[in-house]
Structures are given as C-alpha cells and as structure tokens.
Point group: C2
Chain length 631, copies 2
C-alpha cells in the first residue's frame, strides 16, 4: 500500500518543520545571505564544496553503485556501507541551493535523483550493498550495516527536494521506503534498531510533510526500542550505540557522538510531535549535562579517538579531542530542535559556538579539503593519515585537512548545513520575529521584510532595517549571547543596555535598529575538573575561539614552551594578541617526573593568535587552544 | 629434517640466557625467595593465581581446543585466536614452579604438555584455530591470526620446561615447529611477519638452547622484514604493529604497546646473538626516548585505550592511561635483555619501578582477579565491564579487577613473571655478583651462597650475608636506585655513602653487608609538557608510587575537589599521609569555561594515601595518583 502525499498543512521549505513548538522555522528561500561571514561560506559551498564532493563520489564509484543497482547485473559495491547516504546528503545540499534560486546544480541534482529512483526495489527497499543474490542479505547486520541510517538520510533528502522544488519524484521514493520500513520494523515486525541512529529524524519529517501517522509511530517505536539490548554485545559496550538504557531514562549523552546526537535530535522530533513531555524533559536534561561536562570550548563533542565517543564527565583532553565535524552538525541539529520546541536561548548560544568553531573550521578556505576530527591541541606538525588501498584517507586523526575520506560523512554534512544555514538565523511566531544568529541577510516571511547588515563577528555592530512588519508593526526579538555581558540597543525609543537572553523591541515599517555587541577579548578558565587543561586559559572574542599556532612564534619556538600572561589579550584590529613567556627547561631529561618544577624564562614577547576556525591554513604547524598560564 | 638438541653450552635455567653480554643470568632454581614482598607474591602465584588461571582456561574450553585438535574430528574453537598462547604461558609459569621444587603443579603441567604434543601437525605446525578443513586456512590472516605469536610462546614454554625439568617432550614439539617456521618463512618462503611480535623471542631462545643457527637467522629475518609494509593497511596505521619503519631506524617505541615491546625485546636478543651493535644502539635509543617521553610514573606504557598503543611524546593522560599489564611485563622483558647486554643501571631501575607499580598492581591480594589496564586516575567508581556472550569480560577498561578476560593475556603474563621473578634479582660475572632487586632470598650460583634479608620496600634496610664467595672472595655489587639520592653501606671496611648506580664491595666468606636506602617521602613534579597532569604532584616512597583513594577522604569528599600541599607528605609507619584542602566551587555550572578560576576552601585535613599497587582492594572507589597542588 502506498501512501499519497496528503494535503498537509503548508510548512516552510526548511529541514525541520515541527507541528507544534514555541518558534516557527523560516524556509530556506526566505533568507538570502549577502556577502559576509556566512554568505561567503554559503557561496563557497555552492561553488566549491558541493562540486568537489560530487567529483569525489563519482570518482570513487559511489554514484555508480546506484546505477549498477538498477541494472540488475552483479556488481562490486564501492565504498563503505553508508556510501549511499553521502549521495543523499548531497541531494539535500543541492536542493537547498536550488530552493534559493541556483540553477547551476540542477543538472547534477537531477542526475542524482534519477539514480536513486532507479535503485529502489519494488518493495521500497533501497541500499546498494545488501540484498541482491551475490550480496549479504538485507537486515543481516544491524551493528554496522547502516541500512536504516541510509534510509533516514534519503528521507531527509526527499523532504528537502520536495520543499525546494515542489517535485515529488524523490518524495515518492521516500514514501515507498518508509512504508517498507513500517512493515518490516513495526510492532509486528523485526524487533531491531539500527546501529546508527538517523532514520528517526527522517521518519518524523516525512510524517510532517505527509501527515501520515504511522511514520511518527514508527519513529517513536525506534526510540522506545533503543536501550532494550537488541543490538549485539560489542567490545565498546552498549553505550556506543546508546543501547544501554532507554532514551527517556538517560541524563547525559554517551557513546559514539554522532549516533548519540542524531538519536537525541530524532527523539526531540518524536517528543514534540507526540506531546511527550517526559521525553522532552529528559532530552533537555541530557543537553544540559552534556554541555556542562562533556563538551569542548569549541562546542565540539567527542573526546575519544578510539570510538569517536563521549568520554566520562570532564574527560576533555585537547590533544585527543575528536570533535568530529559530523558531531558538530548533529549537535546543531539537536539544539535547533530544542530551540524550536522551547525558545530557550542557551540552544541558540550553543548553535552559534558550534557554527563558528566546528562547522566553520572543517572546510579549508578553498572548500576543497576538510577536517574530520577537530583537535584543540596539535602536538606534532605532520601526522600522516592512514590510507586505504585506493590511497584515500580513511577517517580523521591526521594533521591537516584532507580532500576526502573513505568514511566521508563530514564534507556532505558541512555541505547540507551551509546550504541551509539561513534557516538558523531567524524564526517567527505570532507577530514576532526572532533573530538567533547574526549575518548579513534579507529575511522575508509572513509580512516581515527585514534586512540585517553586519560584519559580525569581526565587528560587533548589527544593523537591522525593518522594511516591513506584519500589518505595519510587530515585535523584533534578538539574542544577546551569553558571552556578551551587556549589549547596547538603539531603536526609535533611544538607547538602552540589553542583557544575555532574548531582548525585544517593538518595531514598525521603516524602523532601524542597531545593536552593539561588546567584542573585548575574553579569557576563559576551564573547570579544574578538566584535568587535561588545568592551569591553562583560552582566548575568545565574540563567538570565535582563538588558538596559538607555532607559525606565529618567534625564532622557531615550540608551543610546548609557551606560557601566556592571562590578562594580556588585546585585539589589534585584525586578530587577538597575547604576551607570552618562554619556559626554560633542561632538555633531554631521562625521566619526566622530577623533584622540582620548571622555571620560566624571563623573555616575553607579544604574539598573534589565530581564529581557531582558520588554523592550519598556512602550512604544517602545531597548535594549542588552551595555553598554560603564568601566575 | 628435525634438529636434535645439540650439546649446547650449559646455561642457566632461566627464561633468557644470552650467549654474550655484560651480565650472566642466574637460574630460577638458584634463587629461593623467602617471606617478603616478592616471596609472598610468588607463593600466591603458585597457590592461587596459577590454579585460578588453569580453572579458567579449562572452563572456557581453551584446553579442550588442544584435545579436539588431536582428535581429527571437526570442532568449534573456543576463545580468541591466541587462546593457545595462554596455555603456553601457563606451562612456562608452572615449569618455573617445578624448577624450584614444587610438585603440586606437576600433574597439571604434565596434562598441558600432553595436550600440546597431541595437537601438533606432522609438519610441525600447531595452532588450534586454523588449517583444518572446516577452518580458515593457515597463514590467511597475518593481521589478527596470531599464529607466529602463539608459536613464540610455545617456544618460550618449551625452553622453560626443558630447563626446569630436563625433559625434552615440549622442546621436541618446539623444534619441529621452529623447523616448520624456517621453511615457511625463510628467505625462500613467505615474505611476511606476524601482526603481533613474539616469535622472535622464542626463536632466539631456541637457538640458545640448541645451538641451531637457522633459528637465529629466522628471528633476524623477521626483525629485518618488519617495516617493509608486508602487513595490510589498517585504520590505526602501520605503526600499530611497528610496520611503519625498520626496527633499526626507529628512535622511539610506537603503536600497540605490547607488540612494540615484545618486538624490541626480540630485537635485543637478535642483536646480542648477532653482534649487531647498530641494532642494539637503536634499541637503547628507543628505550631512552620512550622512557623520557612516553612512560607513566608507574613505569606503565600505553596511553591509548583505542588501540592499546603509545601516544605521541608527552601524551600521558592519567585517566585514559592504558598501561596494560602485559605491556609492563613486556617492558621488563625488554629492559632485562638490555641489562644483561650492557649492565647499565637504568634498565634495572625501570624494572624495579615496573615490578612494584604494574606487575604488583595487577593481581588482587587473593590472586583471583586482575587489572588489565592500570589507570592512574579513576574518575568514576563503577564502570561496568563489556561482557561477551559467555558473560566474560572482554578486555580492560572497567573499574576494578576482574576474574578473567576474553583477551586473557595479562593474568598468565603475571603468572610467568612471578614464577621466574627470582631471575631478576641478581646476575653474576667473573667473580662478581650483582644485586639488581632487593628481596628476602637465598642465591646460590657458581660458588656464591648469599642470603639477602629485608623488609624492602616498607623498610630501607637490606642485609646481605655472604655465606660463601667463589674461592672465598669476590666482589658484591648492588644497585643504588636513581631515586635514592644516597644510600649508606656498612661492610667490613666501615660505613660509607653510595650514590645511584652500581656500588661494589669486596667480600669474603662470612661477610655481612648492610645497606640503608633512604625512604623519605618524595614529591614528583611531572614535566609540564605532559599537559594532562600540569600543576599536579605525585608522591613516592622507595620504589612505590602512592595514590589517593576516595575511601580515605573525610565526609564523602570527592577526589576531584582535593588540592594537596605539595610539601606535606610524611610516612606514619604504615603509609604516606598528606595535607589537602578542599576546592570550593559553584556546583552545576551550565558551561565549564568561565571568566574566573575556582577558589580554594580554607579547610585542610591530613589524609592517608594508599600504595598504588594496593588500590581498589577496599571496594568501589575513585583514585588519583597525580594530585592538583596548592601553591
């Protein structure tokens, strides 16, 4: 039985459109970014990142998998179990580009959609690695098979494509697939979950676009099943795939970071659509505890290289920080859904921190190489990446950004995030417009026509021109970040200080607001329970975290030998500068545990820091975010 | 062609008997430990650890594998690829027990030998997991198959058994096996190495016992082949199995710690027997750099839980320290071979540190549970271990000692080390006897009859009675540990101070020496490049490292909140005590990176520390070796 696209209520052309919540998302076509921090990156995404990714998935034969699947002839599958999902994420990214009027990517988008249409089995299943006579059977490997994971990405891509273009080509594929999933995994079906959460997100969004209740029910069933131990025992423990306890019983995120965060995001979707306040409360608690004890200053999540997982509370070593780019994207997805549901400012604060310090960090300035893992302490200039037999870097852990990865989830995640980044900028509700992120952009929705102009985060001034408000007047709210102390708002009523949280101003057609955010250099002291960075400080300015790169030290100094004067940070118009002293130490001691501590040399110098998201752009280097401080 | 046991020169009944070197080992039967630190543990080993291990390998069916292999009937192999090697290590342990006159273990030893004899194929191959018609083929998996690894342990067991009992039952098995290895992997054979080094050690010892040159040549060939990239590419990189560069080109140990250390030990054996000074120099350099930058204060090696591997220089996080027990044993094997070759005191110093803080730590006081990983900072009281389908803990990472492991290499390694620990106490050369480790023991070799009496390390006094010296007079040398500052020697010539290194005294029949080692509490400051323990101190006394266990804090304090007064350590006759203050902190901060650092509360208390090797014996607890220091 196939589900038709029901006449569902009109929703924004956005990735996430909850039926109920505090805030209503604004569609991708309704936010046009102009030149500026995010506008430039969105343009880079369209012109470089997406084409680069398309080249790679073609070159490595992952698109050919889909063509081969259609042919019915035996073929050798290329790439990993989740290769299909990278195609889907690129479809999603390109769809958002097309939604904003781009035509350049339409031919590729069409080619990709055609490939996916052709690869679907009559019963709705679509995965190029399993199920054919010469292949492993369908659903024979829930640990690593990533089948449901791929399905979820297909569903997200289909939603994007339909909302962007009005076409239901891919939506039909997704509906047939979702029907198949409901049959196979419903209450009378296989009592299983996927080793990698994701399908929950896709099912709920399909529910939102079709109104089909069973998709929501299936997502809820997957959420409830998690923690029942249906996945096999595994060396890294059940927490790796969050199968150690029920989602509603957990108080913090555990295990593989991307899995944990996709699961949490999908659980928010389920909770919101189901009115499940117990579940939503649990997820908010998990967010709070994870941010308080298991998150890096960059917003990055995931301390362990071993299993790309969260560590215990306060285990946040900067040199072994994994902070997978995908985990940053997933964190934003989780926080965004909580923001839409509750309107609480801390969610938008974390989204800002993660956008500027994980998402912006991953791609190189030319959009043709990426960080997979985003460390906060690079000890060694050159760490060669492990390569597979095709000479492709396998995954994160090397120094420097890489052009692609065998496990290539990160670049397409960057691509779809940048393509839809306008959605994170604002929401609306009743006669209010909420500005969550600052960027040069024009926002037109529901009677609002608002233009934001800013050089944020280099400059703290944000100007908002209210070309029109609904029925001539409304309330404009904007976030004052938690780091901002106080900001200054100038509007028709005059000038006043505004504190962290959401500030609001009544506005009328033609009004002009100016906000000044304080951009003094801030010194951040880590909680002393984070042993790995005891007695160090980090420097921030606005939303941007800064770092010291060895390239900027005088006379080939080593970043290991630097001690910073904690109060010495100043902005020179371009970057933050600090004063540092050099440690005098006995070289080549035979044993590193001694009767006395080291002495600090007398010489001090002022050195520039670099914006963390711009590090490793000037050649091989070592780097530290947290700098040992002088008392 | 089978090699006979040639009339090789008589060598000590010890695990390692180099043909050439500075120092000559003393056989296991020649050193009798009496009650005291090591005597007690050797007794525990014979009465509890070995029988416990035998129970487990029987219960889990690993001995049954050998019986089934003999039968010729299809069987399901139990345990991991290296299950056979645990039998061999227990044979080795029991052989050393029998060498010292024990009869209690003879029946089991005989049973095990019979099983191994029965499991050998006609061409000499013996491995219960591969090669039979229903099994994977021989030599089809050099990455994880552990075939050559098992062979090496068989060879070490055979050497031990022959030297202990004079029987050549197992030696014949080993010789047939070694001949097979030389055919299969010789210059005209498979150009391969084992993913896990070990066979090199076994082959050289077989060479030493038989005089057969081709065994040495084969070991040397395996050493030279390492680094040629014959092992497949692997996600953790070639360094994981030390296949990234030639042994003689490396300057530090890298990759999986146990593999790296077994390889290094085997390479020392090859270098010594071959007169390869370039190789020996390279190994000494690797030892120096590893100890200076990649070794924990306990002597533990291996920072990464991910791959049980070395980290980069100074990456030594105490909470994620792996310090696998096997790596401690392997480190001792490496250092011991370097000591025999060169006589340099630093090797014996590290052996002492590792014996008291890794080997002594692993087994529980009752000998029936073990640490696999030996962390220096236990953050959470209870970390449930990952279990396999049989309910057996898979490997390290849980809190607390465990009765057994699916990857059970550690307990048998503890067993064979304790059974032969007498060998590490002394060596001889010409008319000198060298005392490397202090224990109550009687040493009789080559005209020497020396009795050492001591309560070391609780007490610093060591008394040595020279019942007889060769031809009535000789030189007695003893190590003054590097931590000792100065010790005081009293002999027939009077009293004098002796400095770290080897001190010597001329002795005659009937002489009595007394050495007093200073056992003041020492404060150790870690090198500041070890970020994870910046601004902390550790406390040591003699060779023992101390730790703070939560059980000893007043009023349910948390070890996270404690700051120690660095100069406050004192010994109260039982343990070290220190004064600590409590951190006052704002509980439940939403974000752990703040504008100010924490304040220290005023209350101070004196608390006892625990010997690190005795921690986790009083119930669930948290623990730190490195304590944040108050300025």
């Amino acid at each position: 039985m196939h589900t038709e696209v029901l006449a569902a209520p009109k929703r924004a052309a956005a990735p996430v459109t909850p039926t109920i919540g505090e805030l209503e998302p604004i569609g991708v076509p309704s936010v046009h970014l102009s030149a500026g921090f995010w506008g430039d990156r969105q343009k880079l995404n369209a012109e470089a990142i997406i084409p680069h990714a398309v080249e790679w998935v073609d070159r490595l034969g992952w698109t050919a998998n889909l063509a081969a699947a259609r042919s019915g002839q035996p073929y050798t599958h290329r790439g990993r179990e989740f290769a299909d999902s990278e195609i889907y994420k690129l479809i999603e990214a390109m769809s958002w580009e097309v939604a904003r009027g781009s035509t350049a990517l339409e031919p590729v988008l069409d080619r990709f959609i055609t490939l996916v249409e052709g690869a679907q089995d009559p019963d709705g299943y679509v995965q190029t690695l399993f199920g054919r006579p010469w292949q492993r059977p369908r659903y024979s490997d829930f640990k690593w098979g990533h089948e449901l994971y791929c399905f979820g990405h297909l569903m997200q891509a289909a939603v994007a494509h339909h909302r962007a273009t009005g076409s239901d080509r891919l939506l039909k594929v997704a509906i047939r697939l979702a029907d198949h999933v409901c049959v196979m995994f419903g209450p009378d079906g296989l009592n299983q979950v996927c080793g990698h959460a994701e399908v929950e997100l896709g099912l709920v969004e399909l529910h939102r676009i079709t109104g089909e209740q069973k998709y929501l029910d299936q997502a809820a069933l997957f959420i409830e099943r998690r923690g029942e131990g249906t996945l096999p025992l595994f060396e890294f423990g059940r927490a790796f795939w969050q199968d150690d306890m029920r989602v509603r019983d957990a108080d913090v995120l555990r295990g593989h970071a991307v899995r944990a965060l996709y699961l949490a995001a999908g659980a928010v979707d389920v909770a919101v659509e189901s009115g499940d306040t117990e579940l939503l409360d649990a997820l908010e608690l998990q967010w709070r505890n994870t941010v308080a004890k298991r998150t890096y200053i960059t917003g990055g999540m995931g301390s362990h290289h071993m299993d790309e997982a969260f560590g215990e509370d306060f285990v946040l070593p900067p040199d072994r920080s994994y902070c997978e780019t995908c985990a940053g994207v997933a964190s934003i997805m989780f926080s965004w859904r909580l923001l839409l549901a509750t309107g609480k400012v801390e969610y938008a604060d974390l989204i800002e921190r993660t956008l500027y310090n994980v998402v912006a960090t991953s791609p190189a300035a030319d959009g043709r190489s990426f960080f997979y893992a985003n460390v906060l302490h690079q000890r060694v200039e050159h760490v060669p990446p492990p390569l597979n037999e095709d000479g492709v870097v396998i995954r994160g852990g090397a120094s420097g950004r890489q052009p692609w990865f065998e496990v290539s989830c990160c670049p397409p995640n960057v691509a779809r995030t940048l393509a839809s980044i306008g959605c994170y900028i604002a929401t609306h509700s009743a006669s209010s417009l909420q500005i969550h992120q600052f960027a040069s952009a024009r926002i037109t929705v529901d009677g609002w026509d608002v233009e934001m102009q800013t050089d944020y985060p280099a400059d703290g001034r944000v100007t908002i021109l209210v070309h029109s408000a609904p029925d001539g007047a409304g309330s404009l709210e904007f976030r004052v970040p938690s780091w901002a102390g106080t900001a200054v708002l100038s509007d028709r009523a005059g000038q006043r200080a505004v504190l962290p949280g959401y500030a609001s101003a009544p506005v009328r057609d033609g009004d002009r607001l100016t906000i000044e955010f304080p951009l003094e250099v801030r010194v951040s002291y880590p909680d002393d329970r984070i042993d790995a960075v005891r007695d160090t400080v980090a420097f921030e300015r606005g939303p941007e975290v800064y770092a010291l790169e060895s390239i900027d030290l005088p006379e080939n100094g080593s970043i290991d030998d630097v001690r910073v004067y904690a109060d010495s940070g100043r902005y020179d118009g371009t970057t933050v500068r600090v004063r540092v002293g050099q440690v005098g130490r006995e070289r080549d001691r035979p044993w590193p545990f001694a009767a006395e501590s080291v002495h600090i040399g007398a010489a001090a110098a002022e050195v520039p820091l670099v914006r963390y998201h711009e590090w490793a752009e000037r050649g091989p280097s070592t780097m530290r975010v947290f700098l040992p401080a002088l008392h």
